[in-house]
Symmetry: D2
């Protein structure tokens, strides 16, 4: 394929707009159309990038010029949209997770398999330069055999009532944790077999009433006995904080750093630097790289990675963690294989 890939974006929330901007900037893609239920948003983005605007997703998917679509709608609609896009024969990039229940994920994956279309899931950390380099070094044996995986994912504090509402509807282990579970599988090169979780609604009162948690800690055991620890928090008052570490028999790798801007202030109360405010700033390069990977694979007729099975496997860990929080049960019924190695 020598022409730029004609592609559409379904959903124009924060992530949809990021994807639209990147697709408009990529010479190997052509942003043909966008869709949002909010007509104003659809037209605003369409005008900005010279694309067509739709307010119904089936109109977008029916656009005859499209060959691929980015699904960035609300999480609970992902599966439905994946199925429709597969039925339309489009290559699919879907934000993570495909669904919140395993049966919905399986339904979507089955539709994708039947249609034979490529599907990439938005685990953008796999495209972050620091994670990519860590993966490369682990595989090159730089730290010997990996024996412990550690991760911290802390979202910045959400002061608004709407944000708190979203937390009540959400699930800490799925919303926030799947990225870490994907990294656990990818960097360690094997599946998580056991999960034990503790957690609590330590900050948000309404979450406590709804039975949710805003802070959680997981211990994991991998297939070969290696250990994993993941901390998840909704409550980093100081910003966005993602740190990942792999300890091996011959060394360790630390991924992540708090400092965003290379500027330090030396003041009478100490030395101060800033922190990443949130994920779009921390993973700006990764979001561009993941969508370029998708476009390149589709143009080359190749299947991209991470795929639906990776999404499913990370969801399984998240569901096991959720279950463990209630029951203490720690076994994860693992059925997938890690891809993208």
């Amino acid at each position: 394929m020598t022409e730029p890939l004609p592609i559409g974006v379904l959903g124009l929330g924060r992530m949809g707009r990021i994807h639209a901007r990147h697709l408009a900037a990529l010479p190997e893609a052509r942003l043909v159309a966008v869709a949002s239920r909010r007509s104003e948003a659809a037209h605003e983005v369409a005008t900005l990038y010279g694309a067509r605007a739709y307010t119904h997703y089936d109109d977008l998917l029916a656009d005859r010029e499209l060959r691929a679509v980015v699904i960035a709608s609300a999480t609970h609609e992902h599966a439905k949209h994946v199925e429709a896009a597969a039925a339309a024969g489009l290559a699919i990039f879907c934000e993570k997770p495909i669904a919140l229940r395993l049966e919905d994920t399986d339904g979507a994956l089955s539709a994708v398999a039947k249609a034979g279309v490529p599907l990439q899931v938005g685990f953008m950390r796999r495209f972050d330069p620091a994670f990519v380099e860590a993966k490369r070094r682990i595989e090159a044996g730089a730290i010997g055999q990996p024996i412990t995986f550690k991760a911290i994912s802390r979202d910045p504090q959400l002061p608004t009532a709407e944000a708190e509402e979203a937390l009540v509807r959400g699930n800490l282990f799925i919303d926030l944790g799947v990225h870490d579970f994907d990294m656990a599988r990818w960097l360690m090169g094997q599946e998580v077999c056991q999960v034990h979780a503790v957690g609590g609604a330590l900050v948000y009162r309404r979450l406590a009433e709804a039975g949710g948690v805003d802070n959680g800690l997981l211990s994991m055991v991998f297939a070969d006995g290696a250990l994993g620890g993941v901390e998840l928090s909704r409550n980093a008052a100081y910003g966005y904080d993602v740190r990942t570490e792999v300890l091996g028999t011959e060394g360790a790798l630390l991924i992540g750093g708090l400092q965003r801007t290379p500027l330090s202030a030396l003041t009478p109360s100490g030395v101060t630097h800033d922190v990443f405010p949130w994920f779009p700033e921390r993973f700006a390069d990764a979001y561009l790289a993941e969508i370029r990977h998708f476009v390149q694979c589709v143009r080359a007729g190749e299947f991209p990675s991470p795929d639906g099975q990776d999404d499913r496997a990370a969801l399984q860990v998240a569901l096991a963690a959720t279950e463990s929080l209630k029951s203490g049960m720690t076994q994860v019924p693992v059925t997938s294989k890690v891809t993208g190695t």
Copy 2:
């Protein structure tokens, strides 16, 4: 008391020698005598500091000039030596832990209580400037309410057969973990109520045969629902690595840093700095400060902290972790109170 405190050191391994050096340097103390079964060691250290040498601990404890003693013998002898020192009416500084079994600890504490002598336990992190400042800020409300405690303690790799032998005899959660459990209680200002542990003998083969673990991860829940995560490893190929973090509702504190010497090399393969080789280098200031605190308390007729109850409480967490590793059981029968706040 205006005269320097006359004090002895019982046991001249690594820790005993550190204490002897510090006591000899403190103007408010006078190192009167040292004891070691190894006569050569006793005489070497005694000559260096102008002290008397004993080869039997009861001779040391019978030294009429002594008013206090530092017990730095092998861990399994601590309880016996504490009891003898208490019987001799001496103020006691004992290396942690007092014992490996709760009943032995209780026996020693009971002897101390009966004799009415002061007892300080060697949790030197409580005297490290960074931990001290963190404690001060937490109490001042700088991070709001503490909701998550995190700790990493990684010992450097031990290549020798003897070292491996010591590992086989030891217990990861007691030998290495008690420091973190003490910090958990001290920094969070409350007791640990639940512990869940995973672990494995991932590096040392002989340890696996003996049923031991060289790497472990713990999840903990505190009395008020706050969470804790502790990672312990015998296998840091790169050096000694102690990092502690407290996340609060309004901020976080990170204690520890890998860099020992403020020297960075800028080379074609990147920027490199060194790492602390082991605990004597990392906690040099803390070891001096803890023994000074002990000497000052004894001279002033005050009871020092951390005391035997702190040792007992940290041991309880370690024992619960050991138990959890086998059974999955997670309840900690907590009976103590945190001191030193």
Copy 3:
């Protein structure tokens, strides 16, 4: 102006390609045409972004659709191209410096003034987030009165014969130093009045033969008596190293950091992280921001900054430094005003 700005790029070396890529990605601009003497390069870039290709600069400037042009040709051709672009009535973005001799700069600026077209010069550091924030804080009084400006600019080592050839033709203070001189003026908010330089050909033998220098140190005095120190080197074996510091009466600001990727390796020989390889990686955001600023100003009918007078003033410092190296003379005949405050 509601349509995207139609713009061309003249010169397709490293910088011309960076500008072309950014212009193609900006929704508010439209990359209409590119020009390079090397026909292959012109067609490759034109095809990639759907633009027209020219192999003569006058053909590009004569393109009727163009409203603006980016001049990224060889430095010694900048002045000629600026004059031609001004004659064509185009808004001009010119890579720094406009010329190597003050009379050539003056000729170009005179042509620009006569044509009344906007001219922005490629001092991209003024758009780097860290420098921008530093400027903002200095003006807000965060460090009191600035009293010392410090800068290090070290280019990575250039192993090839061609690179060495370029060094022989170039001038350390102009090629490399103008960025620091621009930052000196901009951050301190005043002109440099005196310069004293030392330097030597300490690494490249052929440079020594040609009378050039590969390492230089400057002391500067600003109009109000504040001090400045700049180090320039062609010889950073470890990568690209730009650090800038402003010391004020109430604090200091440090801009820059060596680490590119947030990944640290913990190995038996220490902790290692990478370094920025060269300027495109360090200033990726700044290059995008400066061209967006240019496009936005032109569309809004505003004059962008930094302008030709800023280029001229920085060149004056560089020429004074060059002169000082030979004669020890330190007076700078300053005639300009700092813009962009």
Copy 4:
């Protein structure tokens, strides 16, 4: 010599007290006596360490038990005290600089030479672990050939009137700069041949009236053409800041770091850590190591380093810088050899 070295301390200001404390703690030395014109100080320190107190320096030097003396009196009295100590046949440790005028230094050195006593000068940076390791690596060829020496020495702000008075009496290049000039010679392994200085009284008004400077920048050229840049400031509002860097043909070494305590606070306004307040905290290890080196050399009958010639050479650079500030003259009449390599 098997007995501890009997030693006295002359002068009990900040530095004298540091030396007294270290000597009292060293098993290989015995602090026999201290002297201070302030009788109270003399008795307080003497009592603390069990030493004799004198209020006249000649009484101290006449103490029959002494074999060595630390001279930590006011700078303008150093030379006189060195001469008297030499006449008394004592091994001498003298705080830097021996004198402020070259003829006084020469007089003292001549007395020392005549008496044949050992003399060590208090350039404690030569004993700082980071500087020591840097020196070792440079000599091992780790950075190729050193081509540029860079240094920053910033003293913390001095708010009191007395402190300002001291500044008026002092000389920035001598008081503060000699340490950097010593490091320049030591790390580069050769002499400084040219110096050019700029400076100003940018902060302290009274200093300006007295013709002094509180901030200065120097450019230096070494014997083999290598370059040097030194920044000196009395005005670090944020603390004590010593950074040194050597750039070589194959890499660079950065010595120094601002952070004192390994504690970082993560707050909504960024990440903050502390700074070294002043030199006793930054160079605590170095002060102990230098005095131990002196004691060991004297006990072993060896001549310690750095010696009087090192002091003289660093003073020459400082004097040349002072002269350059007035006249622009840049030649340094170098007559010494670097020792301690």
